[in-house]
């Protein structure tokens, strides 16, 4: 590709992020490889969702939304967990690569949380008879979405980019506190949301075919997340390179 062979002009400062064409090319190779694996896993998952998994006894066909809703939630939580870890690392080490990983992961976290917030009500309308209920888990998930939308607003609003990155990193760490709250909300408070059926101390309590289908969907979404995150990380590095080129003396 054109980018990987572009030579920085004289005066280009190697700044950690976006300094190596080779590593950008290898990031892209990994992203494509993971994308192919994710595509195969997605095809397997779709086959299992519609042809292998049995129809659930109580909820019927609408329970199949579970296979897109739960993996999206898992992926979003993982994404925001990565944001928190990398943001903490950035605050400590000030390594721009950690900030690049955090911002890439946060963007994907918002995308997957949006999927969770759309697919949940589609299930709830049939199972509960209501699109939305202001109960703890749903409310906290909506709050999580707002926190990380705020993360991007904070980055964009700061006049000094370095300060914007720092404030966003603090929000990235603090915002992740919402994740365990979401997970435990169904146990701590009276909640209408279904309790976990797979991740419970006494083991999964579901039909084996349902568990297998969910695990394949989880794998597919995880691979998709890492593939897209590597692409987004490559974009962040390219953006840094473009900034450096613009700032370089002619």
């Amino acid at each position: 590709m054109e980018t990987t062979t572009a030579t920085p002009p004289a005066g280009y400062v190697h700044s950690g992020v976006g300094s190596s064409n080779d590593s950008l090319a290898s990031t892209r190779t990994w992203a494509v490889g993971l994308g192919v694996l994710a595509g195969l896993a997605m095809l397997a998952s779709l086959y299992m969702v519609f042809f292998y998994a049995p129809t659930e006894a109580t909820m019927g066909i609408v329970q199949r939304i579970f296979y897109v809703h739960v993996p999206s939630a898992w992926t979003a939580f993982m994404a925001f967990g990565i944001v928190a870890l990398c943001s903490a690392g950035y605050l400590w080490l000030r390594d721009p690569r950690l900030d690049a990983i955090a911002v890439s992961s946060a963007e994907l976290g918002v995308v997957f949380t949006t999927i969770v917030l759309i697919t949940g009500p589609l299930w709830g309308r049939i199972a509960w008879g209501a699109w939305w209920v202001w109960e703890p888990r749903l409310t906290l998930t909506l709050l999580l979405w707002f926190i990380y939308v705020g993360y991007f607003m904070l980055r964009g609003a700061a006049e000094n980019p370095e300060r914007g990155r720092r404030f966003a990193a603090i929000l990235g760490v603090v915002g992740a506190i919402d994740i365990p709250l979401i997970h435990l909300s169904v146990q701590w408070w009276r909640s209408q949301h279904p309790k976990p059926v797979i991740m419970r101390p006494e083991g999964a309590q579901a039909d084996p075919a349902i568990v297998q289908t969910l695990l394949v969907s989880l794998l597919a979404f995880t691979l998709l997340f890492f593939s897209l995150m590597l692409f987004r990380y490559g974009l962040e590095r390219l953006q840094t390179r473009a900034h450096a080129l613009r700032a370089a003396p002619r």
Binding site: T3, P9, A57, A127, W128, G129, Q192, P194, A248
Partner: protein
């Protein structure tokens, strides 16, 4: 006499029509309401997700309606959920590709101007 009778029939049909529509709507919602009722005590609150029993066949070989309630609306919701998820993911991937392209052009132009 015939026009009067026709008029009465038309009037009766017009009066019955508005009541028929909500009745249909209620009939459609009934399975959903049943699901809500059962959901409050069973799987929707976290009880084991059990597979529905295989649809039994009758003497004619046709499947007998059994198991969970099946409404067309539920199928639409499943279809919409998967479609929306995939549209968001593909939309995001396309936006990434566009941003990549724009930056590559910009870097190419800047590097060309500098050299």
């Amino acid at each position: 006499m015939l026009p009067t009778r026709l008029l009465r029939l038309a009037l009766a049909a017009a009066l019955l029509a508005p009541t028929a529509a909500p009745a249909r709507a209620l009939a459609q919602d009934a399975p959903a309401a049943a699901a809500t009722t059962s959901a409050s005590g069973d799987s929707a609150t976290g009880a084991p997700l059990a597979a529905a029993p295989a649809t039994p066949g009758n003497a004619s070989g046709l499947p007998v309606a059994a198991g969970p309630p099946r409404t067309l609306r539920a199928y639409w919701h499943v279809f919409t959920a998967f479609t929306v998820a995939w549209l968001l993911v593909f939309g995001y991937a396309i936006s990434l590709g566009r941003r990549f392209g724009r930056l590559e052009r910009e870097i190419g132009a800047t590097a060309g101007a500098a050299s």
